[in-house]
Amino acid sequence: MNTAKHPHFKPLFTALFSVAVAALAQPPALPDVPRLRKLVGEGLTQVYGIPNTPFVLKYTKPGDASSGVVVATTNDTLLIDPTPCVTNQKGIITFVKPYKESKISDARCNGKSYPQIQVIQQ
């Protein structure tokens, strides 16, 4: 009845609903890549003592697992190096919460030991 009295509200509500749905359907915000790159660069230098190691960031999807040495963390991101014994170009794997992590055996490279974890993206 009320709708019949105010027929001009119907398109307005429809438009508002569409905008709200579109806003909710937005993809999650992309990670702050420059900040992550800076953190990883610092982390690689700190962990291995070799500055300016070239690397690329790789992103995971649910069901992806990887293991390696933690090179950087933020509130919601965990970045690990799956090839601690490789000193040239590295592929750093990025996990965003929620993820499962557990400790695994250390990596040994040239007589040095590095603690490793296994992470599964949920």
Binding site: G63, D64, A65, S67, P82, G91, K100, I104, S105, Q118
Partner: protein
């Protein structure tokens, strides 16, 4: 004057000879000793999926092959094994019969050719029964390191190996085999 021209001709002849002899020698060598030179690179990480209905495991991965030699390479056989590194007793061999090799999503069989100066991007899927030896290999915690070693066997019995390394922890085991788990896992980074 005449001797100057003669000297110049001698020098040109010598230079030409110096340039052409190594080239012809190399070409001659290559003609006599033509052979393939296959490089195998890992390109897609290992994924393992468990199908509880059929009780089978499907293991997939990708490889990039490049033949830098001067003769085509014919791959005659494909071997794969899942094992614990540095522990030869802990090993499961996969047969060719359960293996499907795809190039551009088309199955090409386990016998194929890589022409000279050509490359092939392959994805491989191995299907095996989820037998006790395989499950046993997964349940060797706290030893978590595993490797999938693939060998392509060439026409002249040359072996072209590629090893994918990954860790098989307790969480992965649950994710794969528990009814609440996802049933599949991709070991991201195993291709590096």
């Amino acid at each position: 004057m005449k001797s100057k021209w003669q000297n110049a001709a001698i020098i040109i002849g010598l230079v030409g000879g110096i340039i052409s002899i190594p080239k012809s020698t190399i070409e001659g060598w290559q003609t006599i000793f033509s052979r393939p030179k296959l490089d195998v690179e890992r390109s897609v990480p290992v994924s393992i999926a468990y199908d509880p209905k059929n009780n089978v495991l499907r293991c997939s991965f990708g490889m990039l092959l490049f033949n830098a030699g001067n003769k085509a390479e014919i791959i005659k056989a494909f071997h794969a094994q899942l094992r614990v590194p540095d522990d030869p007793k802990q090993c499961v061999l996969f047969s060719d019969s359960g293996t499907v090799i795809n190039e551009d999503k088309n199955a090409i069989g386990t016998v194929f050719t890589v022409r000279q100066n050509d490359s092939k991007s392959l994805t491989c899927e191995i299907t095996v029964d989820s037998s006790d030896p395989i499950r046993g290999l997964f349940k060797l915690q706290p030893k978590t390191a595993r490797e999938l070693v693939v060998e392509l066997v060439g026409e002249d019995q040359s072996y072209h190996p590629a090893a994918f390394h990954f860790e098989f922890g307790e969480d992965v085991l649950k994710e794969l085999f528990d009814p609440e788990g996802r049933g599949s896992i991709t070991f991201y980074g195993s291709e590096q």
